[in-house]
Symmetry: C2
Amino acid sequence: MAKRIAIVGYGNWASAIAKVVGENVHKYSEFETTVAMWVKPKMFNGRLLTDIINEDHQNPMYLPNVMLPSNVIAYSCLKDTVKDANILIFVTAHQMVQDVCAQIKGHVHEEAVGISLIKGMVTQSDGTANPISKEISSHLNIDISVLMGANIANDIAAGGFAEATVGCIHPEHGEMFQRMFDSENFRINVVRDVYTVELCGALKNIVACAVGFAEGLGLGSNAKAALIRLGMHEMIKFIETFYPGSDLKTFFESCGLADLIATCEKGRNSRVCKAFVASDKAMHEVEAEELNGQSAQGPPTASEIYGMLRQVGLEESFPIFTIVHRICTRQVPASDLKRCLQNHHLHQTVQSKEDCSSNSSGVSA
Amino acid sequence: MAKRIAIVGYGNWASAIAKVVGENVHKYSEFETTVAMWVKPKMFNGRLLTDIINEDHQNPMYLPNVMLPSNVIAYSCLKDTVKDANILIFVTAHQMVQDVCAQIKGHVHEEAVGISLIKGMVTQSDGTANPISKEISSHLNIDISVLMGANIANDIAAGGFAEATVGCIHPEHGEMFQRMFDSENFRINVVRDVYTVELCGALKNIVACAVGFAEGLGLGSNAKAALIRLGMHEMIKFIETFYPGSDLKTFFESCGLADLIATCEKGRNSRVCKAFVASDKAMHEVEAEELNGQSAQGPPTASEIYGMLRQVGLEESFPIFTIVHRICTRQVPASDLKRCLQNHHLHQTVQSKEDCSSNSSGVSA
């Protein structure tokens, strides 16, 4: 029997991925040719968004001016959307994950598999933070893979070239997800390092905040490049510390290097954080002004990661992650970022010839 | 006896590094407090550039509006500049290296050590290309280290924060170079992987050309991020193939990741190559129009690297390096770049369920 695919989400990225998957299912008989998409009941210009999607095949609220394939069918009931699905694509806002899981628990096919496209972490009651795939998986008791990469949604929806990385434990699921998503203009590589793929997607938003602060402070391109590099080191070290066993090569996949670069160059986090430097408002106020109702994931992710670091006393080993949280919450001024760069522990200490004369050859001026 | 430092070069980067070194020598008694700088006899506004540097402590021709330390002394005679120097800093244009070496051969202190800040390769008569440090070292028979990184010269001269990587075989030279260059705003890390450090500095200019072509073609941020990522893979593979023994970690130093990002974002190569797409002129004509007399190293480096790849039949294993050379020389249109991205061999091939039914579980629609 062909597999039924359901997309849990209706925003910008969800709509772009609906276009990708909706076009791809026709290529393989293993998939049902209609793709279900959960769309929360919302009005747009006097019509229900589900009706607009099903009648006009567009999502003008989140992805204007893009035609969706007519085999993408919007449903307003979340439980109905997921109940017969064999494959679930989770692509909601980071903040909605726990609520969505609570609603569909017990209504998901027991042999279903899922894939999360959501970038972020979920703070637990004990103060630790879970990768979102782990959160979904523990609520629903199904296997969850992840898809992350340099994936600006509007570009992909417009047919621009992009790559992505699927992180997947089971090779047969990886092959299936590759068929579901891969096309000439959207190339998928599959790796087994699920948490590395996913955490890269979350952590790069913190680095993008640092780059935004640097722009707001007028630090130049050298400093921004240094922040991205040192930020990448902190990403690697964080994952090695909290989720050991990652492969350094995964950081060279689209989910690592490429997503970090694209996000720092052109993402919401850099934009909001740049504006934050010139403002005296709280981060959520600057976000409301700058992003027109969308949210930036960097500040909450920085808070979640800071909570994990503080629990084990490692704040000072991750100076960029730590200072981003402290700047976002106005505990320190943004201008402290330059000192953080200058004093980052990854810079080797200079030994003066005078300081180590006992080891020197005795030649001196 | 304190060591005498001579800078072989007088352009933008040479002047910025003269400021860094001129300020640093005061901190350590191991260095002479005057720094010699070779400046080719050139007139600027009716005065000799050497006189302007020695009287006004500025280099208005290449680094306007920046004061140089008064202990940087310009010399017009290359042989006089180098003859008593213990430490030589090579920072000329890539094209001048062979001529400079020929001039000073036999005039360099036999125990001198050198460091090259020049990014590029030098083609030999047999068609192979040498890293510049190897070229200098074989001409002068002295040990040559390298310094590379995300180092936009004007930013550094203006006191902006930057990092750099020194590649150095001998640890005691590495420590000395760190003292010579490191300051609060210019952080130096030392690694032993000399050729990796140096080749990153040369190869990233080819990737920056690809990014410039992508911009000229209107490909989006996802595609640019993918090019940088795939370009980094080709850099790693090229170095592994031709200079085996590199450490993957070196690519995460400033000379690798950070320089690649800064150059692709804001370098001359991207600018010229973007303009090239909209023009029907030859690359050197576009360069003359766009760069105001400065040169872009990417196109000649692509040619040198292509020559090495062709000698061993590896052009198709380095699709981005190869297509950049072919586009620069108008053998193929720039629009072929998108196909190169789509078909890059680093993307895994999708297996359709139908194609591999003998391995499948037999479940089908």
